[in-house]
Amino acid sequence: MNNNQSQLLWAYRTMQTIRMFEERMHEVFTTGEVPGFVHLYAGQEACAVGVCANLADVDYFHITHRAHGPAIARGADVTAVALEIYCRADGLCRGRGGSAHLHDAAKKIIGANSGVGSGAALACGSALATRHRGDGGIAVALVGEGGANQGVVSEALNLASVWKLPVVFVFENNGYAEATSADYAIAGGNLSARASGFAMPEAIVDGSDYFAVSASFAKAAERARAGGGPSFLEVRNLRMFGHYEGDAQKYRPPGEVADYRENKDCLKLFRAKVTSENWLDAAELDTIDQDVAKLIDAAYETARNAPLPDPEELMHSVFATEC
């Protein structure tokens, strides 16, 4: 991990961008102008950003339906992200995927693709490809703790080990899968206990601590790049909003979110750390906050006013090779 200033500034800016993007989405969603289901990443920023701090251009990042944050963390254009969520013609996926299916081939951001957890298998394939090319890349699969209960995830863990693939499986345990709590759905309550059954090292990381995530992930990535095979990271955090917008969240204990916002907000913790350590100063961070606010304003403004896809787009690229 690289704790130099520019890296830290990047991390703060990126986490703040995600946070403001999501807070804004939470607001505008109520207007009805955003189509489809929208799953917000607020509260989980340190996970995606801590991971992406350690990725190179050759690496693949497989994300989930809770896509905005991870896509932005990996460098997707914020406006293109907003455009896609609004299903506009110039969205990342030409308006076809929407919020849950952000995908940016150029940035090697691989979108959520059907059943939760499926990224774990696809990531094995990205890893095969990067190894085949010998370009030193790795693949990262982000999987929710709920999605971890899909059979394909266990299969992928085994396959990655058998083929000794350069993959890091990052399980983001945000406490819930929809309304079902992780404590209920994961036998024994400890997801990372599964790692050793598939012969790979595991770690449990505090997901509100950017530094912890980044350090832990860096180690796993290093191992993968060195040909040591896959690793298993469980990042524990909470989401600050509902499963999707509109969720009344009555399944959560009272005060859970307020307490998390108060004591485990990754942005607050990051700010406290870098200022108290004198790595960055508060004024710099304030400037970033202002910059980001403008960026978000502009992105939403653009998205809101952009055109929907042309009607003929419906039949476009059903097949890649026309016969």
């Binding site: 189509p35 995927g97 929809e178 404590d183 787009e313």
Partner: protein, 344 residues
Amino acid sequence: MREKSYRNAIRETLYQEMGRDPDIILIGEDVAGGAQSEGTKNGPKKGGEEDAWGGPMGVTKGLIGEYGKQRVLDAPISEAAFIGAAIGAAAAGLRPVTELMFNDFLGVCCDQIVNQAAKYHYMFGGQDTIPLTIRTTMGAGLRISAQHSQSLHSVFTHFAGLKVALPSTPYEAKGLLTTAIRDNDPVIFCEHKMLYRMREDVPDESYSIPFGEARFVMDGEDVTIVAFSRMVHVATDAAKILAKQGIKCTVIDPRTTSPLDTESIFDSVDETGRLVIVDEGGPRCGIASDISAMVADEVFHALKAPIKCVTPPYALIPAAPNLEDLYVPDAAKVVAAVLGIMDA
């Protein structure tokens, strides 16, 4: 008799049937809405209010309060395992009702549905029955893209051994679900996402609608229109528009694709000589072609004009609202199809 939504008609049916038969259990993701978190060695119970959800569509809300945790089982996101378990339980004498959140998730439990549930009774020589109902949601309209908006009833129908019901109204939903639950075969019960809020008068007492008996929504001697699920309403809208132009349509809702009431369809085409089938599933190897082929074989000599299938194009379902609306058949397309064969 009270006006009820499609959602509530389904919930009421579950409530009544579970009251009638203690061997009915409910299994699905969030069906008990988080109620089942009791804490683990890692900490105390974390959850908030019990029964907060009732499945993502809110259909099963309240049932755990009435029937308890032994009969309303929240499942991890493991469709293959919990539908497999439902099959095992059905073979062993229970009468499970499971919820497959989106029919698209057939993807992750296909073996259980098409190879196991569908074939268990036959392959083992008729020794056990599989009285299993799989409630699932179908249909486009929510702008949630290609993997959560499909209508896969034709795929289920392809596999002998499954019954497939597609309720088009609240009244239909209650009667067909009652039949589904009491039936001794695996039934795929396809609830259309865009119908959950539809309301109509639905009897309070329980009743069943037999499988394989079509409903005649409208009668008319010029054209037969067969439609399923939400498309029944699209077809009816089209028929009303056509009626103003003096074209009289029979609109048939077969209610189930397996078994299919071919007799009603054949009889009607025999009279009208013209057939249009409206379906929201994919155009290739679907139920529209299926019905067309049966008619082109069995009622060929009555046909006065080409048979038209009004379905989505051979494309995928895009998230963008304007494209999604283009994808799904609407009344205008049905009207055009009918007009196209009126002077043929």
